[in-house]
């Protein structure tokens, strides 16, 4: 099982797709045909999934699979274990998310600073983004989670949870800083010129004029990255954090049955799908705004 870190969360490409899509449809003219389309979509969905269901249930080995993945007793047993374990993922996610938002912003700002004097800072931020996007996240988690405590420096934390937070923060900050940077670059230079012409310093122009617009534009792609982060919290099970995935492994081994994994998958579905819908809604709203702005 390789987490979605290896593929990398969605990045700045979203900004472009946000612009490239066509105008939104509206108006009464479409109402009747919209109703008909809904009916057709509904019908075809039922036929489609009905067919798949039929094929699966009539597969030669279905009863066997049903026993090992859909065992009611195991289900009832593992839910009380697994759902509380998910709280560990939630904690991990919340703490890392805040740290990522801050660190990534600092990195993005460093990379946007002009002038030859600041070249070392820009270089540092660039190397950081390259390194942490190049190395698979699981490896970073391993290296930090086993390597740093292995140094046995006095007073250094031994709780794997700490290293889990640090590893996820380091990896995701590299991605998120790129998203921020794309946002900063998408703000037209004339905005900065207008700010500077009023006497604002470079930093003030960034702080009051460029960043607020940049951040607003990248909220949907940021949320996409956080969907990725949510799922990648299971990767920290490798360094001994007992979270939802580790817990479901324990339950699976105890019951010799895979149903706990199904429970875990469902928990993620329930949490992630609303977030994904929210992102879609926000992207659609942004597109409308953008089109209104270019009118």
């Amino acid at each position: 099982m390789s987490g979605s870190l290896a593929g990398g969360p969605l990045g700045s490409g979203d900004l472009l797709s946000l612009r490239a899509s066509g105008p939104p449809r509206s108006g009464r003219r479409y109402d009747r045909s919209a109703f008909r389309s809904t009916l057709v979509a509904f019908g075809s969905t039922i036929v489609f999934f009905g067919l798949i269901g039929w094929v699966v249930v009539h597969a030669p080995n279905w009863p066997e699979v049903q026993r090992s993945f859909l065992d009611g007793a195991v289900w009832a047993q593992s839910v009380p274990d697994i759902v509380p374990a998910f709280l560990v993922n939630v904690q991990l996610f919340c703490i890392a998310e805040v740290l990522i938002l801050v660190l990534a912003l600092v990195l993005a700002v460093l990379r946007s600073l002009p002038g030859p004097v600041l070249f070392p800072l820009r270089l540092l931020a660039t190397v950081y983004a390259d390194v942490f996007r190049a190395v698979p996240g699981v490896l970073i988690i391993y290296l930090l989670g086993f390597g740093i405590p292995g140094l046995q420096i006095a007073g250094i934390p031994t709780d794997p949870f700490v290293y889990a937070v640090i590893a996820l923060t380091l990896v995701y900050s590299a991605y998120v800083s790129e998203v921020y940077r794309a946002g900063i670059q998408s703000v037209h230079p004339s905005q900065e010129a207008a700010a500077r012409s009023l006497g604002l310093t470079q930093f003030q122009a960034l702080r009051y004029v460029v960043l607020p617009q940049a951040v607003r534009r990248v909220i949907p792609p940021l949320l996409n990255d956080f969907i990725g982060l949510q799922k990648d919290t299971v990767l920290v099970s490798y360094i001994g954090v007992i979270e939802i995935f580790r817990q479901s492994q324990i339950d699976q081994q105890a019951a010799f049955n895979y149903t706990p994994y199904l429970v875990t998958a469902l928990v993620f579905l329930v949490i992630t799908i609303p977030l994904a819908r929210l992102v879609d809604v926000m992207i659609a709203r942004d597109r409308r705004r953008f089109l209104a702005g270019t009118r």
């Binding site: 010129a193 012409s197 009023l198 006497g199 604002l200 003030q204 009051y208 004029v209 617009q213």
Partner: protein
């Protein structure tokens, strides 16, 4: 006002008169002096030795074909573009000196762009108060009062809480002017501020400028609105291929241009029905 003619510009980088008196002899203080300004983008020279002087309360219009360097000159004066050579003095003080504080200079020179460049994430009031608060260190209340006063004066009082995307082009451009005025600049640079507007909105913006001129604001205006230039300018400068080819009172430039290039340019304008 002297009528100076000709492209004497080549190579007058550091003129003989390095010391610019703030309140000079003839009673009219010099607000702006531009001396031998050269500017290239890559290998293309855009400004080729510009000399220009504005007394206080002068309203000088820059006319000239597209690409003649009007915008570039304004951006150079506001230090948004670095000069290749030459000097710029604001009230006798060299603002192009390496020791000059760029941010302090820009507080004193307002610029309004063709494309408004309002901050879209801020209300009209916030657009106007941002610089007074952050740059001049005024309190929100003080800056707010000043802003409301100015918005009121230019018929924008009821728009203070709107965001720029809710305003017409003319209203947006008037807000941009108010935003520049809120810094109480010594000099206002206007770069074709009506070119992006629908014809019926041009008048409301030009009226604002007329009022500012009556109030004694020193202005350098790049414009394609010849009628407006004739009305308002104390002097018109014809910019051609990076030099000021001819300058003088509007009446003279428009009715008796000396240079062949100026005649051609005005001829084309007349043919286009814009004079």
């Amino acid at each position: 006002m002297s009528r100076t003619t000709g492209s004497r510009g080549v190579g007058t980088t550091a003129g003989p008169s390095g010391q610019a008196p703030a309140g000079s002899g003839n009673g009219q203080a010099r607000a702006l002096r531009v001396e031998g300004v050269w500017k290239s983008f890559g290998a293309t020279p855009v400004l080729r030795g510009i000399d220009l002087e504005l007394a206080e309360h002068d309203v000088v219009c820059l006319i000239g074909a597209s690409g003649s360097g009007k915008s570039t000159l304004l951006r150079c004066i506001n230090l948004l573009e670095p000069l290749d050579s030459g000097r710029v003095f604001l009230e006798g003080e060299e603002i192009t000196a390496p020791t000059a504080d760029v941010n302090r200079v820009r507080r004193r020179i307002g610029i309004v762009f063709q494309s408004f460049n309002l901050f879209p994430h801020m209300s009209v009031l916030a657009n106007v108060t941002l610089a007074p608060c952050k740059v001049l260190g005024m309190s929100q209340r003080e800056a707010g009062e000043r802003a409301v006063g100015l918005l009121d004066r230019f018929g924008l009082a009821d728009k203070r809480d709107d965001f720029p995307d809710r305003l017409s082009g003319g209203q947006q451009q008037r807000v941009a002017i108010v935003r520049a005025l809120a810094m109480e600049p010594d000099l206002l640079l206007l770069d074709e501020i009506t070119s992006a507007l629908d014809p019926e909105l041009v008048a409301e913006v030009l009226n604002v400028i007329r009022e500012l001129a009556r109030g004694g604001m020193t202005m350098l205006i790049a414009t394609h609105e010849m009628g407006f230039a004739r009305d308002i300018a104390t002097r018109v400068c014809f910019l051609d291929a990076g030099v000021i080819l001819e300058q003088g009172p509007a009446a003279e430039i428009f009715s008796r241009p000396r240079e062949a290039r100026t005649q051609q340019f005005l001829q084309r304008i007349v043919e286009a029905g814009r004079l």
